[in-house]
Symmetry: C2
Subunit: 335 residues, 2 copies
C-alpha cells in the first residue's frame, strides 16, 4: 500500500491542505511547518497520485500520439523529438498505432479524449473527411504532422513539399536528366501528393520538358510498390535516366529493383529520395535526398501542443520548417 497525502498529514501533524500547499507551492506555508512536512515526505517516500490529481484538475500530463506505423523510419525519429521535448515539460506520451486504418484512428481519437489527454499529435497517411469532422467537434489541442491543413482549422508542422519537390526536380534537370520518373505516395488524400507533383511539374515546365504520365507512379509510400513500379518501367522498356521518389523508402525500393535487374545506380539510372531518414546515409550508394528536420518536426509539434495547452494563441496554421537538398552518391550528371 503506497503512502497518501493523508498519511503525510497525519505524521506531520498538519492538515492535508497544508501538505497539498507545500507540494504545489500554491499558498504560503510557514517555514517551520514546511520543513516538517518536507521531512515526512522525504522519509515516507511519498509521491502524489497523478490519477487523483488528474481527476480533480481535469489534466493528465499526458499527450496522445497517433501514428500509422511505429516501426516506420521517419516516424520513429519524429517520436524521438516528441518524447524528448515532452519529457522536458513533464508530459508523457500515450502511443497509438493505427496501421493507417481509419477505424482505428477514429477509435483512438475518441479514446484519447476520454483518457483526458491534454493534446493529440496526429499522423496519418490518408486524411479523410471523418478526421476533419472529429477535429471540428473537438476542443482538445490537436497538431498534425506533414499535412496541408490550410483548408481547415488544425495546426500542422511540416516542410514546404512543393518547393522541395521543385528544387529536387530542378536539380535533376540541371544534371542533364530529361526523362524523370516521379514515384509518389498517392494523389488525393495522401500527404502532399499534389503539392509534390506540382513542384515537379513546375520544374519540368520551366525547362520545357514534357511530363510522361507513364512515369508518374502512386505507390502509397510502400517500398515494395516502388519496386514493382520500376520493374514495370523496365518491362515496358520506358526506364528513364532518373527516378525521383518522394520518400526514401520508395527510393530504396526503386534502387533495389534496379540492382536486382543488374542495373547500376547511379551509373545507369539516378535515383533520389525525400526525407533523409537514417538509412539514406547507411545504404550504399548513399542516397541523394531532401533532408527534412525530422526530429525537429516532432519537437515543434509537441511544443505547439504545449503552448496550446497553456492557452497561448497560435497564430500560424502551418509551421513550415526548413529543408535542404543533400547531395550524395545516388545521382550523377549525364551532361
Amino acid at each position: 500500500m503506497s503512502v497518501t497525502i493523508k498519511d503525510v498529514a497525519k505524521q506531520a501533524n498538519v492538515s492535508i491542505s497544508t501538505v497539498s500547499r507545500v507540494i504545489n507551492d500554491s499558498k504560503p506555508v510557514s517555514d517551520e511547518i514546511k520543513q516538517r512536512v518536507l521531512k515526512v515526505i522525504e522519509e515516507t517516500g511519498y509521491t502524489p497520485n497523478p490519477v487523483a490529481r488528474s481527476l480533480v484538475m481535469k489534466k493528465s500530463q499526458l499527450i496522445g500520439v497517433i501514428v500509422p506505423s511505429i516501426s516506420n523510419f521517419f516516424i520513429g525519429e519524429v517520436l524521438n523529438g516528441i518524447e524528448e521535448i515532452g519529457k522536458m515539460y513533464n508530459y508523457d506520451i500515450l502511443l497509438c498505432n493505427t496501421y493507417g486504418e481509419l477505424k482505428q484512428e477514429l477509435r483512438y481519437l475518441n479514446l484519447l479524449k476520454s483518457k483526458q489527454v491534454e493534446g493529440i499529435i496526429f499522423m496519418t497517411w490518408e486524411l479523410q473527411e471523418e478526421h476533419k469532422k472529429f477535429f471540428s467537434e473537438e476542443d482538445v489541442p490537436i497538431v498534425m504532422i506533414n499535412r496541408d491543413t490550410s483548408d481547415f482549422n488544425i495546426t500542422s508542422v511540416c516542410i514546404d513539399h512543393h518547393q522541395a519537390a521543385y528544387e529536387m526536380t530542378k536539380y535533376l534537370i540541371e544534371k542533364g536528366h530529361e526523362r524523370i520518373a516521379l514515384i509518389r505516395g498517392g494523389i488525393e488524400n495522401y500527404v502532399f501528393g499534389i503539392d509534390q507533383y506540382e513542384g515537379y511539374a513546375k520544374a519540368m515546365k520551366e525547362h520545357n520538358l514534357e511530363i510522361d504520365e507513364n512515369l508518374i507512379k502512386n505507390c502509397q509510400f510502400k517500398l515494395e510498390m516502388a519496386y514493382d513500379a520500376v520493374q514495370e518501367m523496365i518491362d515496358d522498356d520506358i526506364l528513364p535516366t532518373a527516378i525521383f521518389a518522394t520518400t526514401d523508402s520508395m527510393a530504396f525500393g526503386a534502387i533495389n529493383c534496379l540492382i536486382d535487374n543488374n542495373l547500376k545506380v547511379p551509373e545507369d539510372v539516378s535515383v533520389v529520395g525525400f526525407n533523409d531518414i537514417k538509412l539514406a546515409s547507411i545504404y550504399r550508394p548513399k542516397l541523394t535526398t531532401i533532408r527534412q528536420p525530422i526530429y525537429d518536426i516532432g519537437a515543434v509539434a509537441i511544443r505547439v501542443i504545449i503552448k496550446k495547452i497553456k492557452g497561448e494563441e497560435i497564430k500560424e496554421n502551418i509551421f513550415t520548417l526548413p529543408h535542404e537538398l543533400v547531395e550524395r552518391d545516388s545521382c550523377r550528371s549525364i551532361k
Copy 2:
C-alpha cells in the same frame, strides 16, 4: 462539459449504481431498466471516465514501455507487437524513451509506478544493479526483453543467443571461413555479450580454430563503432575472411566500411548479422543473418504482462522464442 454517470442516471431515472451495473455487467439489472439506461447512454454519447475509474479501481488499463531508443529498427518492431496485442486486450501504451541513460530509466520506472500502470515492459542496453534493486522492491508486473534474467526474479522473453551465435559461427566455418571476426555489443552488462561470445567460441573450438582476440570488438550496438572497428582491422592489415556482427546495424556498419574501402561483400569479405531487421532484406547485398521473431517478442512480452496482471502464475522465468538462420547474399563459401 462531458456527460457523467450522474447525468445518465438522472435522465434514465435510475441511480448511478444501476448505471454502473449496466456498464460493467457487474450485477443483474432488469431488462427494462437496462434498455432504458443503454438508450440514454447511446443518446448522450456517454463514456465512462477512465481516470475516475482508475482512481477507485487502482487500475489504469495502461502498460508502461521503457525503451532505450524509439527510432531503433529492432525496437520499433517490438513496439508493434506490444501495441497490437495490447490493443486487443484494451491496454494502452505509455511510451518512455531513455536513450539508455540509467538516470532516465530509474526516473521512468518510478514515474510509471505512480501513474498506476499495471505492468512494465523494460528494455535496456546495459543492465545495472540499480535496475535489479528496483525490480526486487516492486510488485508491478515487469517483463524484460532480450535479457538473461536467470539470476534474478524477472521474467524475460528472448531467443537463445548462445545457440544462435553458435549456429551462425558454425555456418561460417562450414563455408570455409577460419578467421572470423566477432563484432558484438559489449561485455558485462550488455545484452548477451557473454552468451554470444561463448556460442562463437564453442563453434570455433569444436573446429579447432584459434580465436584471435584482435578480431573481437565491442561496439555497443553502434553502426559507427562497427565501421571504425573494421577500419581498424583494415589499417592493421588483419582483415578476416568473415565478420560476424551480433546486430544487423553493426553488420551494416561493417559492410559500409568495406565498401568504402573498395572491398566487395561477399566477394572479398563475408559479413553476417543478427536480428533480421527489415533493413536486412532491403540493403544490397541482402544480409545473411539470424532471424529473431521480433514482433512476436513484443507480443509475447505483453501477453505475459497481461497474464501477470490477471494473477496467473508464470512458471518460466525466461521465454525462449525460436530463431532461424536466414541465408542471403552477404556471405559466400570460400572452400
